[in-house]
Amino acid sequence: MAISVIGEFKDPTELLRAAKKTNKAGYKTFDAHSPFPIHGMDDAMDLKGSVLGWIVLCGGLTGCVAGFGLQAWVATEAYPLVISGKPLFSYQAFVPVTFEVTVLFAAFAAVFGMFGLNKLPQLYNRLFKHRDFSKKAASHGFFVSIASELDSDEASIVDFLKSIGATNVSGVKE
């Protein structure tokens, strides 16, 4: 069984401070929830940079090769057409479609890569059992959640969150 303990904070400044303290206290599986991204939070939580850029690069390169390859193959092998006496492999004319397919694949990689990294869609999340979290987190609440595999940790995490100034602290079970 796993649990999460959730505590509420007043505003972005308080949340940033709390995230810093939580990180310093050695908790690894915690998150800071806010209705909008807060500048400086990645450093406060000591997060590494997102790897999404590399996923998008792969997507873009795949699109580039696929788009150009499709055109080259169609023009020279699958259905060679002589247009105005131009060479069959007239790569200059393939630029626009190659560009479009590159952008298309890169955009899919960006969106679905982001879903993958964030483990979305998530059909069930125990955090929503916290009444105020489920009402406020997306709109105007600022929360820290700390997860643990051991139910027995609950009391100590509750005490910790209270000690760094959280209100409305309670644990939610799986």
Binding site: K24, D31, I38, L52, A78, E100, A110, V111
Partner: protein
Amino acid sequence: MNRVIAEDPSKRTTLILGGHDFEGISDLVVKPIETKAPKWWHIALAFSFSLLMLLLSMIGFLIWEGVGVWGLNNPVSWGFAIVNFVFWVGIGHAGTLISAILFLFRQKWRTSVNRFAEAMTIFAVICALVFPGIHVGRVWVAYFMFPIPNQMSVWPNFRSPLLWDVFAVSTYFTVSLLFWYVGLIPDLAVLRDRAKTKIKKVVYGIFAMGWTGGNRAWQNYERAYLLLAALAAPLVLSVHSIVSFDFAVSQVPGWHTTIFPPYFVAGAIFSGFAMVVTLMILARQLFGMKDIMTMHHLECMNKIILATGTMVGYAYGMEFFTAWYSGNEYESFAFVNRAFGPYAWAYWIMISCNVLFPQLFWFKKIRTSIPAMFVISITVNIGMWFERFVITVTSLSRDFLPSSWGYYSPTWVDLCTFLGSFGLFFTLFLLFLKFLPMIAISEVKGVMPEAHAHDVKEGH
């Protein structure tokens, strides 16, 4: 509406008025979704929906009878369908420009406008996609446009600008839709958490995908948004450039010019922003969003309309210069014919609507006057429709040999189809206003002064 423009240029203009807190912003934006739709909304929807039915019956009639029901004739084989296609695609440029290019330039005022403009983009591109689809004549073989393996082993010609256009516009539609949806996810989570009925909770919940606003997710989310903006910025410039290749790569005098790509892009932004201003004026008034879509936002939009309108005016002048300077008599004739030939009436409507009226935005009084900007934004869209009409029809009707000249007039089917496309656009737009947040809630909160954390020293 008081003056909200910062008089002291060293200070940033306040973007959100009315002293709302974070919850207040959610309440304000979500209000039209949570309350019963006003009467005017039902009337407008009924009206738009009947125009949409008109569009569908015109398309049905076209497919049943054939393209002969349109006014196309032998020299003028591109008429209303192509004009309307370029017109709607052009309108569809504002959204992605606002969301991508202004995002990369860190123009924070965009947050109040972008959701709205992106929705408009998507609906305008849907309207645009209808026209080439039905223009092919035999719509049941429209799949020939895509590189799909088929039993005839026939593949599309990738050296044709018309095929580039298929890729450009469909990529643009897909990427705009992805961008719009990614932006919507945190706001859908707000709707999910506030939902009162089970159905709403489930539907908004599915689309919000379990978003909790955790910073670990925000980190990837922000990166995805940035990358999408970086991808969409060159995309938005490429789309209308490629649309202009449909004309510029041909040999027809008046079409075969290298100025077309930038000229089309500037015109697209011009018409798109004008459409956003028209709709914004109505929406902020009718839904009480004046604290978020302030006069400052409208003024910023009007400045861009002025800038792009001036670029379009420059392009009109430069086309004449190039035609004269080229010494090519077909080219020179094409332009003299535009201004003084049988379609001179259309040309002068275009010049007055696109070049003259927007210049009034040099005056701050006009730039910040709601009635003035409403009228000008509508004239811009009329003017931009006529621009495409002038380019498409005048050149075709007077090409190389006088023996093949002709005159094009639309039939009632052409006119009703065009009118009907507004029904499609407004039906989708009205549904959007009712069921989705018309303002990007989380982005607006992010640019409020309260959103910045002030703790930097502690812990370092």
